[in-house]
């Protein structure tokens, strides 16, 4: 039984992104072997034309559908974040820590409903501050959107990069 196949089976059946330690506990293999197996698996999956990839999010790994196939696959999976909430989520991530009152200026009254949904999903944290509420992203945010980040600063930087790509690609007014 080759070690990367054991790790492959574990990644496939894990209910959420897992760390090397999680994989260790489940397999009994040592950390070095697991890191090696992860490396080989990522080469194998991500380098092929398969619809599935192995993503790294800071210290966590997950098997997931590649972006270009996610629309079709999403229909059979249970996605939880409504499309119109995604944009609000990305704006919060970009401007965080940001006051809800400021987000109101950007997206209007729907911010209250969106923040409630995002907090319920555990993607955003809301803390009272002055007369408003301060919003920041959570660890689950990183996992749900598959961002390779360890901190809020990383998430912010990642979004800045995406914004730069967007403005290069399709600047609109």
């Amino acid at each position: 039984m080759r070690t990367e196949r054991i790790v492959e089976a574990e990644l496939f059946s894990a209910a959420k992104p897992v760390t090397v330690t999680d994989l260790q506990t489940a397999s009994g293999l040592d950390a070095r072997t697991i890191r090696g197996a992860l490396k080989r698996l990522m080469d194998e999956y991500n380098g092929s034309d398969r619809a599935i990839e192995i993503a790294k999010m800071g210290p966590r790994y997950a098997m997931q559908v590649k972006k270009e196939y996610s629309t079709q696959a999403g229909r059979l999976a249970e996605l939880k974040v409504p499309k119109d909430v995604l944009k609000t989520a990305s704006l919060i991530a970009y401007y965080q820590p940001v006051l809800q009152s400021k987000m109101f200026d950007l997206v209007g009254a729907k911010i209250y409903d969106h923040v409630k949904q995002l907090v319920d999903l555990g993607l955003v944290k809301a803390r009272p501050k002055r007369k408003s509420v301060e919003l920041t992203t959570t660890k689950r945010f990183i996992e749900t959107f598959g961002i390779d980040a360890r901190s809020r600063q990383d998430v912010k930087a990642w979004l800045e990069e995406q914004a730069a790509k967007l403005s290069g690609k399709s600047p609109r007014t």
Partner: protein, 309 residues
């Protein structure tokens, strides 16, 4: 690394925490950390004497484990840690230490959380907020646009969000016997606490709650409000988030959180007197609140709660 340098690491960690004590921290916080520093210092010198106080002894065990197992004081694997702790205490055959250990476990978790919060605070750009400190921002809208959109404007204008929810499998596994036993153990403890709570209510009910239906509904109200609080997630929750109907519901929520605060389950505070929003926060970290530690803590608290007049 040697025993001495491991001790130095822990001392460095404690010094950091001492240096970030804020003005609004609990008054005994500084002396508490002083005590810890003293303890580790003694440990390093080999002059630490066993205390009679179970809590102090269990704190010493914590430091001993961290030092001897070369754990990184900035990143303790709590699961590993609590396993080692329990093994160590069982070996000593000291039941008092098990209870004390739970408190230490919670305290440690809180300490760790606080560090994270402090680091976030240090990293946070404050200039916008500082500019308006002490001002009423409502009156500034006329002549100031405080929000620099920057490159985020692209995100605002585009139709597609730059993030997308990754499609993963929803994996499930069958329940095993061990799962069932674990669940049973937890459930048994929780229901025992509910029974104790009911007894407590019976004993200290207010005279005007003599009427049976009134008393029953109070217990149910508290249980229901506690459940509502649990759906609100971690961190501080404005009481208005718990309202779920008209005036009567507001009274129910308000009275229930007062009871829960007295039972030691919640912190409650108000930012602006006298009509500002009331906030509440569950006293122990959320995940632990769901587990046995919270139940143990509540069980102890029930005994300590003063008579409700």
């Amino acid at each position: 690394m040697s025993f001495t340098s491991e001790c130095t690491n822990v001392l460095g960690h404690l010094m950091f925490h001492k240096s970030i004590i804020e003005d609004d921290a609990a008054p005994d916080r500084e002396s508490k950390i002083e005590g810890y520093l003293h303890m580790v210092d003694e440990m390093q010198k080999g002059t630490l004497v066993d205390s009679d106080d179970p809590f102090e002894r269990s704190v010493a065990v914590v430091f001993e484990l961290v030092v001897n197992n070369k754990m990184n004081p900035w990143d303790i694997n709590l699961i590993e840690f609590s396993k080692m702790y329990l093994a160590r205490v069982r070996k000593a055959g000291d039941l008092n230490l098990i209870i004390a250990g739970k408190l230490v476990y919670m305290a440690w978790e809180i300490l760790k959380l606080q560090t994270e919060q402090v680091l976030q605070r240090v990293d946070r750009p404050e200039h916008v907020d500082i500019m308006f400190d002490g001002w009423d921002p409502d009156h500034l809208d006329l002549f100031v646009d405080p929000f620099e959109l920057g490159a985020g404007e692209v995100i605002l204008r585009t139709n597609d969000a730059p993030i997308d929810e990754k499609v993963r499998r929803k994996s499930e596994r069958p329940v095993t016997l061990i799962d069932l036993l674990d669940a049973f153990e937890e459930a048994k403890k929780e229901s025992d606490i509910r029974k104790e709570l009911a007894k407590f209510m019976e004993k200290y009910r207010r005279p005007e709650f003599e009427d049976k239906s009134h008393k029953e509904s109070l217990e149910e109200d508290i249980a229901e409000v506690w459940e509502r609080i649990q759906t609100c997630g971690q961190g501080s929750v404005p009481i208005t988030d718990l309202y779920n109907g008209g005036k009567e519901d507001r009274v129910k929520v308000f009275v229930s959180i007062l009871y829960l605060a007295r039972m030691g389950k919640l912190h409650i505070w108000q930012e602006k007197m006298p009509f500002g929003e009331v906030f509440l926060e569950v006293k122990v970290p959320w995940d632990i609140a769901q587990l046995e530690d919270a139940t143990a803590a509540t069980a102890m608290k029930v005994e300590e709660v003063p008579v409700v007049k």
